[in-house]
Amino acid sequence: MAPITTASNDETHQALLDKLDLFPIPKPFRNPHWKPPQRRNKNLRQILADAQRAQTSLLNTQQNSGASTPIPPSDGTQTPPSSLHPNPAQASQDLSRAVLEKNTKQLHNGNTGLLTPGGATGGVVPSVTYNSIAAAPSLKPKRKYCDITGLPAAYTDPKSGLFYYNAEIYGVVKGLSTTQVQEYLAARGANTVLK
């Protein structure tokens, strides 16, 4: 274990290590009987895929299942809570549906100017999700900048696809190996990704 600074020697470093270590410190505030669920670390893509699947299945059970009548077309005047199914078989989806319907009601009772997207699709599709708030692609023309120097670029090398500023940089571009070209392209996400 290497100390980071030259100022500390092994002994002081060991003392510091003992002092900072959290492992032996008792943590009585933790529930001793609690076990974390297996494989709870998921990355963003997995979480989104799972959420997407859950949502689709929810929508399917609401709209397509023969056991439930579809939500009455919301004309804004009435979505009484009694429209929740009395059928106990539907109980599992009731909370989510209750909220969805609440949203629908809200949408159509007021604030329409403010909350449009949900209202437009009938209020069944959730209005705000992690995906839905992501910014859309730009509609403006992309400006080209030299991949080597970052200066504004007027030219593109047809062979490698790199943008370059002037003849001198072109000389550099010509001398690049395929790997280097890919590295430069990767900086603006234009590299070839092999799958």
Partner: protein, 752 residues
Amino acid sequence: MPHYTVPVISQSGRNSPKPPVEHLYPVSEPPYHGQLPTDTSTYRASSSSTAIVIDNGSSSIRAGWQTDASPRLQFPPVMARYTDRKLNRKLTFVGSEIYFDGTARGQAKNIYEPGSNIINNWDVLEGALDYIFIKLGIPGRDGVVDRPVVMTEPLANLGYSRRITNEIFYELYNVPSVAYGVDSLFSFNYNGGKTGLVLSSANTSTHLIPVVDRQPLISHATRLDWGRSHCVEYLTRLLKTKYPGLLTAGKVTDTQIEDLVRSHCYISQDYDNEMVHFLDWTGLEDRDHIVQLPFQEKEVIQKTEEEIRRAEEKRREGGRRLQEQAAKMRLEKLVRKEQELEWYKQLQQQVQDATTKKEVRALLEDEEFRDESHLDRKIKEMEKSIRKQRNKDVGDMEEEPEEPPTYPLLDIPDEELDEDEIKAKRAQRLLKSNHDARARAKAEKAAEKARQDEIKRLDDEHREKHFDDWVEERRAARSALVQQIKDRERLKAELGNRKSQASQMRMKHIANLASDTPIGRKRRRGGGDDDGFGADDADWMIYREIQAGKNEDDEDDEDEDIGTQLKAIEAQLLEHDPQFTEQSTADAQRDWTKSLVHAFVRGPWPFDPESAAESSQFHLNVERIRVPEVVFQPSIAGVDQAGIVEIAEDMLTQRLASNPARDLLLKDIFVTGGYTLFQGFEERLRNDLRAIMPIDAVLNVRKAKDPVLDAWKGAARWANSAESKPAFVSKAEYLEKGSDYIREHALGNVYP
């Protein structure tokens, strides 16, 4: 129309040199801030409704009591947990405390998924919460944290993330109640905002949230996936391509790059124009920041003059000794040879004195001589070599003028000679032709010299008479050479490319040579197998052609040849042509002060590849504005999303155009988050928005008082106020209604 104008490049020679480098920026030390104190007094003074406020940021976690003025704990969201083999025990470090030790640094894991604002490592979150509760002095009887918690979460947090967080709070720590809120809204609220557009540009993402009458219009909120952590990644990428291998060799860490981003980057007010002129010679020394990585100076042993002299002396001494030895040996040899000669001469004498032929033959055969003439030749040879050596070593004998050899036998026809004489004649002929050839070469050399002199004389004469023509010719010759060099370079480059015309031609030639029925050369009718290759000398050139690029030495020789020719012509032009100056020579035009690449990689200073210090430096110039610019133009870094100004434009002129509160939104554009700490962020945003908004619109951009800490402060103030009370979800509610249940409030997320 291009979005920039290219400056006119002047051809006026070398740029003036810059003063020596004044300031080198070091890379930062690991950010170890010492141990955070544990304080139990506040806990004892607090009531059961005093909340613990946690701003769960991705650059750093800030935590404290709601009654604190500012967060008492601030630490990066990292934990290192590992077993040390030498000590044989488990170790856990959290926050900046991991930086004190190399292994801990290496083992550190971040709470967040790299590049996103989503929690991905729940063990680390647990570790961080443990750390907070320890430092806040929670006694924790029976596995209970008996204080409510207010925590920030990203806008439109994922259900899964919230579920696991809830699980940890309610089931692991048995927290009585928890409330969640969005950091940027807390910050806006803290800075007294009511209606406005909140632009929060933080470490992992950038959000724009319109707020009307304290109510966020979450459905219009927009997220751009770019934050300061992406800047770090982007700068790393750029530096890796700019200085291949340097970052790895210099062991540059992410925290160091982050520090560079923070201290050197700024937002350009006019990106395209500033960029075009960024590498201009004028003022480059101020724009170019040099970062010096730690390096090992190469050992250069400085010898004193005394030492050098002594070494020289020693070497000379050795040389002398060797020379003496050689001379001695040569002398011995000479003596031996002379003795031998003496002996042969005696033999000759004996032979001459001998009376019978038999005796003569016996004498000769003993010494393996064929006949008398053989002996004579041997003696003559020996005399000659002895004379030569004497001359060289002792210098006591004058070289006899070599008499032109005579070839008496050559003119006599063969018929009149016997066998031996014919042999001798053959030898003489050989000697004669040798001699003649040497003479011819000598004559040719003299003639060539005369010719050169003549050419020179004519040239001088020509120059004196028709100066303009002469200059014209020389210039043409020079440009032809330059062209030749260029052609050669192009050919070399093209041969590297398999698809280029040059290499395709080469392949064709090779195939043609190998083929039985070559195309191009017509087979002679009835000519049998012979295709006539080689009849023309030019045919052989094909082998030279297909070899091009293979024997580099040869090429280099030719290159050098052209180079010297060019040098010679340039020297002549320099001497006589007043318009041809030092600066127009090919060397001057390749001068590094003119090179854009040099300015980009090495700044306005010369570069010495031998210097260890200079090789472990990197120059930040265009990167200083290129990196933070991405939030305005995400396409630079390959993010397929609109920039913040375009998002704001879309929001204010399209989606909310008919909203009565739109003008109010414009009046309060509120920026917060770590990204806005870049110098010039507000000004740039204001200018860009001004450009797209109606001329009479009142536009006001303001920055949070403290873009980094205001989120926590806002959350603490909110937790203190009565309005937060209904937003808490108690453990009982959690158990009854499930993990998805949240209470919506003005500073938090809505149910999806």
